[in-house]
Amino acid sequence: MNKRKKEILAGYLFALPWIIGFILFIAGPMVASVFLSFTNWNLLIPPKWIGFKNYYTLLEEDELVPQALKVTTYYAFTSVPLRVIIGLLLAILLNQDIKLRSFFRTIYYLPSVSSGVAVSILWLWLLNSEFGLINYFLKLIRINGPSWLTDSRYVIPAFVLMSLWGVGGSMLIYLAGLQDIPTEYYEVAEIDGANSIQRFWYIVLPLMSPIIFFNLVTGLIAALQTFTQAFIMTGGGPYNSSLFFVLYLYRQAFTFLKMGYASALAWVLFIYIFLLTLLIIRSSTIWVFYGRH
């Protein structure tokens, strides 16, 4: 076998795990999922083909679908931008030459390490309207805290607050990016008479834009798929005002065993995420800055 052929063979061999995985766990299920979405299978009795009925129900009749999209979008578009802004500002602060820097970094990072189930339970307790710490502190400054998780106006803000607590994860990524900016840039700018705000706007922001972009996209995709917190903390309530889309999907699949309908919902979610991501990527050509000068 000649060298070229050897390389091609090696190429496929090394990539084999992913190729197999892609067929078995991604492409295959995707195709199956499309077919599923045209049936009303509940896995217990033989499936029946019902054509586009699921999609029709989804788009025309089911009012929980737009509700779920609304809730999920509200959460994502509030939480992600806030996380980007706060994460970046935090990283800048922590990039300064101050004592106890690594101590602070650790403290801010810790919440994001412990995400998921335990955090949901902790915040369930923190947000309790009678015994929770948050309302207690609010009471200390004479504010009557709302019933966070049972008031439809405050339930999503509660989730956003919770997500902001874990901003340390992305902060670390921004920090790494900041450290990559050569100090000469700052020095040159300072010599040219730029103040700190101008330095931020013309040096930091452009050079950080790829990272910001990355975090924005990945953050959005993750936020739109929120499940665990909603499942554990509110179960979609109060009256569906925290009915995150994936929670609704899970409910259709496992509480009502409507596997076909759930598959259709999954595709709707995918298309939604895809379009939003495309939008951001398109817009990125305007504000994201690659290259070194």
Partner: protein, 428 residues
């Protein structure tokens, strides 16, 4: 040389992993020589104790059968359905009397008739109504594990210190109306100097039977006679739901759902912070945990007619079971006198067997509640879960929209009107 060493290392690792998984499977297969059944059930700590006691005795009597108890205190139906859908069905299933019909229609349950006939099983000691509940479309799908009804537990000590005369526990008495109940609840609700409520009159339960008793005592129904539409938006039913909403938000004698959930439904009563509450007879649990005040039971307040919810739960066999014979042996034992005695002794719940229900095993004259006969006599007024094949789906739908009422988003009439439309669609 080094490269080969590394490769050998990796291969060893993979082999190790494979052998681990293989051994796991193998060991499992080995264990199959003796039959292991899986039984899925919910249960508070006392129930778990009773469950384990009965299963231990069963294993003593049948040494070649082991029973693995899958305890599922939360999201019970979700978990059960997932298991069934995954082809991982447990052999014996503990299930509510309203929910099993859906599973029967989905072909998930095994009918017991041929076994009953073959073994000439004598079921004359079982309360006929209890047995009938588990008969659907002419087939006997399961046996009742109990035959309870939900009545009103109340804190006698609290009543006395509020100066309230104890209501009669006689089912024939007609004084215990909704109006009287409300008066009592208002007198029992107490605040501390800062205005926080420290003692509540009643607790609203958002489970099916928790509201079904109120709808029933108001003369309401869930399904029309022909089962083709729902009557949940009719005035009788609306009145009941509105009353419940008012108990929390208008009369303020019941805690909000959030507060009740945080402190735990049982815990509020057990802790002496709740005057009255509708519960199924978790008498064993209460006896174990209430030591600081006197408590008793009485019939549920009525408005239009006397009624109580309940009907209990029973054991059914999955059609996916690989051990039908052993599963039948277990189910047969669970309805036996010996098993029901153990169960009743620990749980204090109303047994489905007449002989035990009227014996001291259940009645326990020296222990509270003094008026335990309320449960036995209440069987006459029992309105079990509606035996409609789509009941399970409908009750799941209702529990999702119940939020709107119990969290005061909208008056009951509006919510139920919308809900009725959704339910009617399923019933078509």
């Amino acid at each position: 040389m080094r490269r080969i060493k590394i490769m050998i290392g990796v291969l060893c690792l993979i082999a190790l992993l494979n052998s681990y998984l293989f051994i796991n499977n193998f060991a499992f297969a080995q264990a199959q020589k003796e039959v292991t059944l899986r039984l899925i059930a919910w249960g508070n700590p006392t129930e778990v104790k009773a469950r384990e006691a009965t299963l231990k005795r069963f294993e003593e009597l049948h040494p070649n059968i082991k029973v693995k108890f899958i305890h599922t205190p939360e999201n019970y139906l979700d978990k059960l359905q997932t298991m069934l859908a995954a082809g991982d069905a447990p052999d014996v299933i503990y299930i509510g009397n309203g929910d099993y019909r859906w599973f029967a229609d989905a072909g998930q349950l095994m009918s017991l008739d041929s076994f009953i006939k073959r073994d000439k099983l004598n079921l004359s000691d079982v309360f006929p109504m209890a047995l009938k509940i588990w008969n659907y479309n002419g087939k006997q799908y399961g046996f009742p594990a109990d035959f309870p009804n939900q009545e009103l537990f109340y804190n006698v000590t609290m009543f006395k210190s509020a100066g309230l005369p104890l209501p009669s526990s006689d089912w024939n008495d007609s004084g215990w109306t909704w109006k009287r109940f409300l008066e009592y609840a208002q007198k029992l609700t107490k605040k501390d100097p800062t205005g926080r409520v420290v003692q509540w009159g009643y607790r609203v339960d958002n489970s099916f039977r928790g509201w079904w008793v109120w709808v029933s005592t108001n003369g309401g129904e869930l399904f029309s006679k022909d089962g083709k539409r729902t009557l949940i938006a009719e005035p009788a039913s609306v009145g009941a739901f509105q009353f419940l909403q008012d108990l929390i938000y208008k009369y303020k004698i019941a805690p909000t759902m959030e507060l009740a959930n945080t402190m735990g439904g049982y815990d509020m009563f057990l802790g002496g912070n709740l005057g009255m509450t509708t519960y199924w007879p978790a008498i064993g649990y209460m006896r174990e945990n209430i030591k600081t005040f006197e408590w008793d039971v009485m019939p549920h307040p009525f408005k239009v007619r006397k009624a109580c919810a309940g009907g209990g739960s029973g054991h059914v066999i999955s059609s996916q079971t690989k051990h039908p014979e052993e599963a039948w042996t277990l189910v047969k034992w669970l309805i036996s006198e010996e098993c029901e005695k153990i169960w009743t002794e620990t749980m204090g719940i109303v047994p489905p067997l007449k002989s035990i229900a009227y014996s001291s095993a259940f009645l326990k004259p020296d222990l509270p509640p003094k008026h335990i006969m309320v449960f036995v006599e209440g069987a006459k007024y029992l309105r079990p879960d509606p035996p409609h094949p789509k009941f399970k789906e409908v009750s799941q739908l209702i529990s999702q929209d119940l939020d709107y009422i119990l969290l005061n988003k909208a008056p009951a009439k509006e919510v139920l009107k919308e809900l009725a439309k959704k339910i009617d669609k399923i019933l078509q």
